[in-house]
Amino acid sequence: MFSINELKKGALISLWFVFLTFPIMVIKVDPIERIVQWRWTNAVMVGVGTFIVYCIIQFAKYRKALKAEESNETESKDQVSFIHKLLANPKQRNILFMVLAAIILIFPHLFSTYQTNIMITALMYVVLGLGLNIVVGMAGLLDLGFVAFYAVGAYSYALLNHHFGLGFWEVLPIGGGLAAIAGILLGYPVLRLRGDYLAIVTLGFGEIIRLVLENWNEFSKGPSGISNISRPELFGLELTLEQSILYIYYIMVAFMVFTIFVVNRLQDSRLGRAWVALREDEIACQAMGIDKQKTKLTAFSLGAFWAGIVGVIFAAKTTFINPASFTFLESAIILSIVVLGGMGSIVGVIIGALVLILLPEYLRALSEYRMLAFGAILVMMMVFRPQGLIANVRRTYRFKKTS
């Protein structure tokens, strides 16, 4: 089963890992005693561990190859993921939706406020991911400055609330609208750009928005941020902190459902097809009569709209915002959600967001190795499932033959 060559390769990989992890796993400097501890047992453990993992992976590959030999035909069907199969069957789908709805609705009553808060954040990233999915996943426009629209939404609520006393529900559509306008403003100059060039410009745009917010003190109060933003009101009732978190949780759930509904419909429409066609081949797309400018701009503005909405909710949730919340890291995380979940796939993006936001929270048990484990999971994902957790599946249509 294992050839000598494979074992040799495994041994080499193990050695390489020992070498790579040497500085953090073996050397330990004790600043008090002023000595260096050499923990050689750790190196051995890393080596043996890597070798075992390698063997397991090889074994899995071997079994997969065996299976593929046995049945060549089932392979193509295997590519459709379990979830898509489940969603294709209306009966199972309804049951699944009902169970999910029940879990989501009773979640805050089962767990603590802390858990609810984490869940709100995760749901916010689901909506952000779905928004960016329109731009990156469907229209294929690599946007690295998505957080800018998120900031536009958050600051429009913070400023309108601070200066004019406007409430959450009034600003919600305004925030979304302003972000959509910002999307068009960004979209216009970058219409001709594709790929890497587009990524650089959008990255710059994101930074510009952040730097403006940081330095224009009269407008945004600079790095000290805006505090005392009011929480969402509920028919003028006085809400305690717990109640208002609960309230925001349900608002967020409602918005997530709304987003999924809208994005799903967009994907299945004339516009959605035009986006995908634009991603696939720009020249052919134009030759088929699709207006490139209009299509790109709608993708940018519709994507930005969701970011703006989530921005407003974010400002209402934290009641304090400053430019530090809108760094490039945020854009990178949202982009990772889309890529990790599966470009263009709605189910994929939802699961991607939950994994990426909840995982670091629950990895806290690993304390200082938290981010290391997180990074390792990301790398493994990209190696073993480059198409994302749930790859997108094109819609199938059924017909009666006319002839």
């Binding site: 429409s269 516009l271 097809r273 995908v276 088929m288 699709i290 490139k292």
Partner: protein, 263 residues
């Protein structure tokens, strides 16, 4: 004589110091199959790109006249998508399908410029939008039946064979309901049997009254299908006429085979 659907006059295209097209005249009438031939590098594809708006020609004009309505519009300087809206649809020499979309969706994209549902329509999916979607699907599917790909409607375009991809490109172009269909080397890379199938398909499309302008190197296809042939060399038109005239034209033979060297 009726006004031609497409009338190209004095079309000139310069790339820097190189004149790729030199005062080219060409016309296509309703229901005709016209072929544009010439040695490699003669400027045939450049001509297509100028007509369909991918390049803006240096000089000359391209006039499109819908049959019946006597009003002609100039296509010069229009963007590719507007040219398609006006009624020219093309295929590409190196296939340009949307590989990650299904076969049916590829054809549905062709309907894009003849339909109008937008954001609001997509989200609320009112009766008008639903009807439009139904029509898009029905028409796209009937086009697939015509080219014989109906049972592969839900496969990804990238999984089709080469010949099938070529035919799908034609179907996609037809979905835009063009006044004139431009085919850029439709038989390139096909084996004799596939070429024969293609000849039958083009003939069938033409029998519905569809005007076709095609670039092709396969002489069997050109000679059997075309009503008229234009021959280009070095960006200039060197001959024009019916297939039998072209076959014996000394200028054409010279362009393809080179000149006799007499001592």
């Amino acid at each position: 004589m009726t006004t031609p659907i497409l009338k190209v006059t004095g079309l000139t295209m310069d790339f820097g110091g190189i004149r790729a097209l030199n005062k080219l005249d060409l016309d296509v009438h309703t229901g005709e199959i016209v072929a544009l031939i010439g040695p490699n590098g003669a400027g045939k594809t450049t001509f297509f790109n100028c007509v369909t708006g991918i390049y803006v020609p240096t000089a000359g004009d391209v006039l499109l006249t819908p049959p019946g309505a006597g009003k002609s519009t100039s296509l010069k300087g229009l963007k590719p998508n507007h040219v398609t809206m006006k009624g020219l649809a093309r295929t590409f020499q190196n296939i340009r399908l949307f590989p990650k979309m299904t076969v049916l969706e590829n054809v549905m994209i062709g309907r894009h410029c003849r339909t109008k549902a937008f954001i609001i329509g997509a989200i609320f999916r009112g009766p008008a939008t639903r009807k439009e979607e139904q029509e898009i699907m029905a028409m796209s599917f009937s086009l697939l039946e015509k080219i014989g790909l109906a049972d592969k409607a839900n496969e990804l375009a990238e999984n089709l064979s080469y010949g099938e991809q070529r035919r799908l490109e034609i179907a996609r172009a037809l979905a835009t309901e063009p006044l004139l269909l431009l085919l850029d080397e439709p038989a390139a890379g096909m084996n004799p049997q596939e070429t024969q199938e293609l000849i039958n398909l083009i003939r069938e499309i033409s029998s519905d009254g569809q005007a076709i302008l095609l670039i092709e190197h396969d002489m069997k296809l050109v000679m059997t299908l075309s009503d008229r042939i234009f021959v280009m060399d070095y960006g200039k038109k060197i001959a024009e006429g019916r297939p039998e005239e072209i076959r014996t034209n000394p200028e054409v033979i010279k362009a393809y085979l080179g000149e006799d060297v007499d001592a």
